[in-house]
Symmetry: C2
Subunit: 173 residues, 2 copies
DNA sequence: CCTGAAACGGACTGATGAGTCCGCTTACGT
DNA sequence: ACGTAAGCGGACTCATCAGTCCGTTTCAGG
């Protein structure tokens, strides 16, 4: 990609903005047509930049996932592994639930974009908390994420903090 | 429905059997065509008995839900509300996870078939346990089901008992 | 048997959504 | 200003699936 023509760049931005908005509002199941309409372009234009719907979704959630990775990295700096884990969980949940639609996209994309990196960092945060005795150790670090995500996605509108609290309580050693 | 012709009755049974099997294997998203094929009938035949896909699904999960209602009724007899609730939760989970595909159907159908009845009975079991101080009371009885269901559905193949355990621990007062 | 109503099943419709194609338009270097 | 390659967008294909319709087959009672 040497250099985009001015109109191309403008449309690319419009598409990304619209996609972010629409995915945030309605989750991963919206059609490309809807996004194209919101962006004020033809859907051919969307597909030219993002060959598949998933490609577009990855682009949209990239920042989200990067931010979560940053939280994890930060948690690894703390010298109280237990506290670090619970703080991390709260921060990630806060970010995820600030735009539930986008979070569903993150879940939908699973390991693809920077998911692997996020998974790896989380695993470290969790394993460290387990080693410190702050977290029950009869489950794999890989089980913690799904449990929390499941609770968050099951929660009705304003209730997710309560649901998170229940699961985190259940996770304590 | 005065009396079904012999071939009609035979096909009806075939359809119900096939639908149970296929829904159990693949959850609520299978197509009617697939079920009809498994039953060895045309899909027109399926639609004649069950005007919509949901009608078929209701018919298939009816026993499932009835069984869960029975568990709830039984739990209400017990004179230890706390124990009754946790036993109920385990029994329901056991039944649900014995055929995860069907359980997804139950979730999909939500309140429709005897779901309302099940919801009402569960509510009583939960409220009783809360009154007895065995369950944290900062959540509504209606929140307990979703939390447990979410954990079960998030669990990988063999791990659901562990996930259930985490959530139930978090629910204790 | 034989006949009519019940049941059958597959062709058909209509909706939806991802991804392709190509004739027209427009930016931009010369 | 102008030629051209990059970009555009919508019509089109292809696949899937719920639900309808109707010509044909089969059951069952007389």
């Amino acid at each position: 990609m040497v250099e985009l023509r001015a109109d191309a760049r403008r449309n690319l931005e419009r598409v990304l903005d619209a996609a972010t908005e629409v995915f945030a509002a309605s989750g991963p199941d919206v059609s490309i047509d809807e996004i194209a309409r919101a962006a004020g372009v033809g859907h051919g234009t969307v597909f030219r930049r993002f060959p598949t719907k998933d490609d577009l979704m990855y682009a949209v959630i990239e920042r989200h996932v990067a931010q979560m990775c940053a939280f994890a990295a930060e948690a690894l700096e703390s010298d109280d592994p237990g506290e670090a884990f619970f703080g991390f969980a709260h921060r990630v949940a806060e970010l995820a639930m600030s735009t539930p639609g986008l979070h569903k996209c993150v879940v939908h994309c699973g390991e693809k974009p920077r998911g692997a990196e996020l998974g790896e960092l989380s695993r470290k945060v969790i394993a460290r908390a387990q080693r410190a005795g702050a977290l029950r150790s009869d489950l794999e670090p890989a089980d913690v994420g799904p449990l929390i995500r499941a609770a968050l996605m099951a929660a009705p509108a304003g209730q997710w903090r309560l649901y998170l609290d229940v699961v985190l309580d259940g996770l304590r050693a």
